[in-house]
Amino acid sequence: MQVLIPSALRSYTQAARVQAEGQTLAELLADLDRRHPGLRFRMVDEQDRLRPHMRVFVNGRAVHELAQPIAAGDEVAIVQALSGG
């Protein structure tokens, strides 16, 4: 499926939209990290929680759990919630 990548992570992907596969968000992020090493740790901490300010939307709906199932054809968007100075 296609994943929208925020500008802060494009140094890893070199593209705004990339392909990745998985049946859950966790699997999708693991696949993304295989294709683009280092990306996952910048958005998921060592306790397997999405870092503050990192948001994931599946088909336009916010997802907070890595165990969230996803299906082929879903549109996944990774977004950084811009804030701060």
Binding site: A8, L9, P37, G38, F41, R42, M43, V44, D45, E46, Q47, D48, R49, R51, P52, H53, M54, Q80, A81, L82, S83, G84
Partner: protein, 400 residues
């Protein structure tokens, strides 16, 4: 973990005692919005600013590997992305990210509820190259407090359980509530030049600790250190060392800038002496950085700050000054020639003051207003060599 012994007191002293001729000078400046390198000429008069590197990243520390003179490590994160370490083997031309940056052990959520809880590295705060005999070994201190070691030049990092996962240490570390405004920190990782297994570290808060076995076990080094009035000095929790330095010319001598004064410790003694009592009363002896002379163990420099009522953490009276001792802390001399004489409310963070190893020693001070100041004569005269940078977090110097 390799902790081969390599006692070489005489060699260490001889190396430290020799002033290095200035070939080329490199200053590494870490800021809240990226990193810069300053390349200086042999006279330390002309400086070329190179950067930004990692523009927009919060860079807490940038360090050169003295064992090869070309490998740089940078501790970085952004406001939104997690912490990482970048590595360059060509003095900053190209950077590569660590494959496994410092990260705490994953804790099962069920166990986390019963124990001291799972932790997440917010940022790597401190980088120290390992011992000269241990090529590619590095140490890192994080916020919240954690100690990590790399044995492959910074590509991958492993936590030291004796520090990171020990329930007693976790109690001493406290929580984010107990730390500095920018998070509690493990810092001042000192490697004895005579013995790679002999380590020191500081925690803000959590005190000063010493290991003789490469970090497998630790003992407290708190005797003589004061804590805020009303608290128990016997508990590491209440100790807040700001910066600990070992004298390369006399590795048994340590200096420390603490939340509660300036101290000296001569080993094998174990009791710190508050040498800051000899500072002028109106200035006090509180600050963040402390820099030692590369060849004279009786000499160190500090940058005092205003610690009155709400702790402004700025130069006292808006008049920035470095203070130096040349007799181990019995007398202090104010060194401010060239600095603004008034209305200069600088804050200088604990990693933002450093020295080179030339003769006379060059000193460098970076402030939170983005100015970098230099002295070519051990602090007698200062001039600004860079301004308009972001808030400066750390400055390191190397002769190449």
């Amino acid at each position: 973990m390799g902790t081969s012994k390599s006692k070489g007191t005489g060699t260490a002293r001889r190396q430290a005692a020799a002033a290095r001729p200035v070939q080329r000078l490199l200053l590494m400046v870490a800021t809240r919005k990226g990193a810069w390198l300053l390349h200086g000429d042999t006279r330390r008069r002309e400086w070329r600013l190179d950067g930004p590197h990692f523009h927009g990243h919060v860079v807490h520390h940038l360090q050169l590997d003295p064992r090869d003179g070309r490998t740089l490590l940078a501790a970085a994160r952004t406001g939104h992305l997690g912490p990482t370490v970048f590595r360059s083997t060509d003095c900053g031309r190209r950077w590569h990210e660590a494959e496994r940056p410092p990260a705490f052990a994953k804790v099962d959520p069920a166990q986390a509820a019963a124990g001291p809880g799972a932790r997440v590295v917010d940022h790597t705060f401190w980088l120290s190259p390992g011992h000269a005999s241990e090529r590619d070994t590095w140490w890192a201190g994080t916020s919240p407090q954690g100690l990590f070691r790399s044995e492959d030049g910074g590509r991958s990092w492993s936590g030291l359980p004796a520090v990171n996962d020990d329930p007693q240490w976790r109690e001493w570390m406290g929580t984010v509530q107990d730390g500095t405004p920018d998070g509690p920190k493990l810092h001042s990782i000192v490697v004895d030049p005579r013995d790679p297994a002999h380590l020191l570290l500081g925690m803000s808060g959590g005190g000063v600790h010493e290991s003789r076995d490469g970090g497998q076990s630790w003992s407290r080094l708190l005797d003589g250190l004061e804590v805020v009035e009303g608290f128990d000095a016997a508990l590491p929790t209440f100790h807040d060392p700001h910066c600990i330095r070992l004298c390369p010319s006399q590795p048994d001598r340590l200096y420390q800038q603490n939340h509660c004064g300036i101290y000296r410790l001569d080993r094998p003694g174990t009791r710190w002496t508050r040498i800051g009592r000899r500072m002028p009363k109106k200035i006090g002896d509180v600050g963040f950085p402390l820099v030692v002379h590369p060849r004279d163990a009786d000499c160190c420099w500090v940058f005092p700050m205003d610690a009155a009522d709400v702790w402004p953490r700025t130069a006292p009276g808006g008049q920035p000054a470095v203070y130096a001792t040349r007799d181990g802390g019995r007398r202090w001399q104010r060194l401010a020639a060239g600095f603004p004489a008034e209305q200069a409310w600088w804050t200088v963070k604990r990693q933002a003051m450093t020295a080179d190893a030339a003769d006379p020693v060059g000193l460098y001070v970076g402030n939170t207003g983005g100015e970098l100041w230099a002295s070519r004569d051990e602090g007698q005269r200062w001039r600004c060599i860079a301004r308009h940078l972001p808030e400066i977090y750390a400055v390191e110097a190397a002769l190449l």
